[in-house]
């Protein structure tokens, strides 16, 4: 209860609960900051604070923020990001959502392997990540929530600490409850970043189901295996809801043409009819998902993946089924039976039948996806998120690096991250921010450590130290990094050119 005559504090009181570390991302909705709690009960705990600007048309609090808040307030699951607080700024009607901070995300982890380590992600980590994604998704789906925007950058992974290596599904700005919506789900415009978009959406389905999330998980699974997006279509950005022929083309090339045989209701989808010549005229040979992901067609991993990438959404494997996934080997026997009965995979057995379960086979998935249980396994140390420490909470830069134009904002990122150590004073400057030195405690990761260090001259942490004509490649990397650091939408080289946001 303030006194009427008291001078106005310039900023909301809740700001005093946090010590701002810097900016870690930016999106259409607003900015994301990293802060440390100053509360006694949680002193020093890292918090990600997502600021939602007022919606542009002078229509109050952003609907995206409302959606995210209302769903996350109801969610309580280890594999779903935890909304710890919501703060308000009455001055400009903005909302600040405080989350438990996750140091990594799959976008960065995959990129680190692809660009820095040039080696695939180990089986244990892939399996543990996938299991936890499915576990979180199963929770959401059984609570009638479709995420609708699953992609690697939305799959967060906790850094050092009690929850290290735990997956958190994040960014619920597009999520919806699908139990009796008042308007068809389609009304919000097409969602899901185009590369992870399910074929029924690409073909114009108006009502869709939780199966769209499973398609995206399939794409993410493949990307974890190959380090490359599985279907990298070019997005057509003409008009409000263009037909994404290139994306479909990329899918058909790998999975083969969908047929009414495989997908009986495909004929009802608008684009299948309207763009008949475009889609149906084309012939696609050599469907070869297994060659793309380099898995044996008999492996449980391949079987699980192919069920996630099932064309017909009604046949696509659900999150719950995927967690219990099993494949019955001795294929000839099984297939003939399943054709006869039409349904079941229950087979009268001879001795040679074998049931394989992806998640029950070695290596077993674990809670800490980043650190394998078995001793002797290599541990990869992933870089910490770059932090632009020159930013103020309101998005106003307050230090010298702010003079760098905003299009270059990540130059400020690396510079300032080097200059102003982020809560880890002992971190050697020249290794920032490529390797999270602070997290190296295990000697067994030597090889990777060396690798990472060997990379340093190639990809400088501070671009000002490494400018030269022979280093064009680094510049490209730097630029990619720069774009990402300044843009949570990840317009880096392996991200889709843009994504459709509704509203």
């Amino acid at each position: 209860m303030g006194e009427g005559a008291a001078p106005k504090p310039p900023r909301p009181a809740w700001l005093q609960e946090y010590e701002l570390v810097g900016k870690i991302g930016e999106g259409t909705y607003g900015l994301v900051y990293l802060a440390r709690s100053k509360k006694l009960s949680s002193r020093g705990v890292k918090i990600a604070i997502k600021r939602f600007k007022q919606s542009k048309e002078g229509d109050g609090v952003s609907p995206t923020a409302i959606r995210e808040i209302m769903l996350l307030r109801e969610c309580m699951h280890e594999n779903v990001v935890k909304l710890v607080n919501v703060h308000t700024n009455h001055l400009d009607m903005s909302l600040y959502l405080a989350f438990d901070y996750a140091e990594h995300d799959l976008y960065e982890i995959i990129r680190h392997h692809r660009e820095k380590l040039s080696c695939s992600i180990n089986q244990y980590t892939v399996k543990s990540l996938l299991w936890q994604i499915l576990n979180g998704l199963n929770y959401l789906h059984s609570n009638w929530i479709i995420h609708r925007d699953l992609k690697p950058s939305n799959i967060l992974v906790m850094g050092e600490g009690e929850e290290q290596g735990v997956v958190k599904i994040g960014d619920f700005g597009l999520a919806r409850i699908y139990q009796a919506p008042l308007k068809p789900l389609f009304d919000n415009g097409v969602v899901v970043t185009i590369w992870y978009r399910a074929p029924e959406l690409l073909l114009g389905a108006k009502h869709y189901t939780s199966a769209v999330d499973m398609w995206a998980v399939g794409c993410i699974f493949a990307e974890l295996l190959t380090l490359k997006p599985l279907f990298q279509g070019l997005e057509d950005k003409s008009g409000p809801n263009p037909f994404q022929i290139d994306q479909l083309d990329k899918i058909f090339k790998v999975l083969g043409h969908p047929t009414p045989d495989r997908w009986p209701t495909i004929g009802h989808l608008p684009h299948w009819q309207q763009n008949k010549s475009l889609i149906q005229g084309h012939k696609y040979d050599n469907p070869g998902l297994h060659t793309v992901v380099q898995l044996s067609q008999k492996s449980p991993a391949y079987d699980l993946l192919s069920r996630m990438l099932e064309y017909d959404p009604t046949k696509r494997i659900s999150a719950a089924q995927a967690l219990e996934h099993e494949i019955v080997l001795n294929c000839i026997f099984w297939y003939s039976t399943s054709i006869c009965s039409g349904t079941s995979i229950i087979v009268s057995v001879r001795g040679d039948r074998q049931i394989l379960r992806y998640f029950r086979a070695e290596p077993l998935p674990g809670r800490n996806a980043l650190v394998p249980g078995q001793p002797g396994e290599k541990i990869v140390v992933y870089p910490a998120r770059p932090v632009d420490a020159s930013t103020d909470f309101d998005g106003i830069s307050s230090t010298q690096s702010s003079q760098i134009p905003s299009s270059n904002s990540a130059a400020a990122t690396s510079a300032s991250a080097t200059a102003a150590p982020v809560g880890a004073t002992a971190r050697p400057h020249q290794q920032m921010p490529i390797v999270g030195i602070q997290r190296m405690q295990n000697t067994s990761m030597g090889t990777f450590n060396v690798n990472a260090q060997a990379n340093i001259p190639v990809v400088p942490a501070n671009m000002y130290l490494h400018r030269g004509p022979q280093q064009q490649q680094q510049q490209v990397h730097q630029q990619a990094r720069r774009r990402e650091a300044g843009n949570m939408q990840n317009t880096g080289s392996y991200q889709p050119p843009a994504k459709s946001r509704r509203m």
């Binding site: 009181a13 229509d59 209302m70 307030r73 009607m93 059984s142 609570n143 409850i177 139990q179 009304d187």
Partner: protein, 344 residues
Amino acid sequence: MADFQTSTHRQHWILSRQDLAQKYQIANQRAIQMLLKYGATRVEVQQDGSLVYPGTPLETERNGTERHTSLPEPLTIDEEFLIRRYYELKIQQVCAAFAFPNKIQATAVLFFKRFYLQWSVMEHDPKHIMLTCIYLSCKVEEFHVSAEELGKGIQQDPQVVLKNELTVLQGLHFDLIVYAPYRSLDGFLFDMENFVQGTNNSSTQKLQELKEAAKFVVDTVILTDCPLLFTPGQLALAALRKANLEERAVDFERYLQSLCDRHPKHTFKELTLTFDAIDTTVDVSRQPKEADLMPIDRKLKYCRNPGLQDESKKRERKVKHKSKRVSQDTSMTTTVDASPMYVC
């Protein structure tokens, strides 16, 4: 969300009668104290989020008794209830005028109720809060209506709708998912269809009529304290029981028994007692007549803004005249207009 049991609705917004009474009392008492302290009850949210009672601080120690005599009379807890009930009905009327889906009015009414568990109507203007609750409910239920559209439809400044949005969100503790009894109603009717043996056209027809009748009962039930005391399932069943007294579509007792057989967590007796309690709560809280409300509304205005009291003495006759006109005309816009805007 399918799981009502773990919902914020279940955890935070279904109270015991004692808690409910206590919350109303705390809000009422605080408003009265602020009236004594500042000479007015209305509260304003500053740009930094802090609260201010913009009345002139009174030097209570020295001149307290002097000023007390001229202070406006605060509302009682019962009067506050009547004011809230009036605006809750208004919410339903506005939503009907806009032809919003039913869920929107239910969510808006629940938002309004939840907000005033922490605040007194003397502190935050119920007319403005009502509009913000409708606006927010549209956002939450993904039925987006712009503040401008909403403002136009009820001849109000869109800024009035917007300015309280954060305050209402905070008052709701950001718990935004509301389970209205209508959906439970659908569920139970679906279940009844299976229960009614030998379903034929006439019994389906009867059940349909029962559903419509029960919906009307629910419309009234949510205007009472019931949604803050009982679960949506309990409210829906109580409404079905009541509607069935007239419709006679099913043997309700037998249906309830079969329900209990299938869900051993509940007993027939316990459920019946719950429904009786709901019926009683609904029966004792009748919709106040507008004519009865006018004096309470005037009291509310004066304690929110005592300056009006002095002015009004001059125009008292005019006001009386106006209130007569209002009480005859129940249309929404007229009444909304009738209460002068105290835009702060």
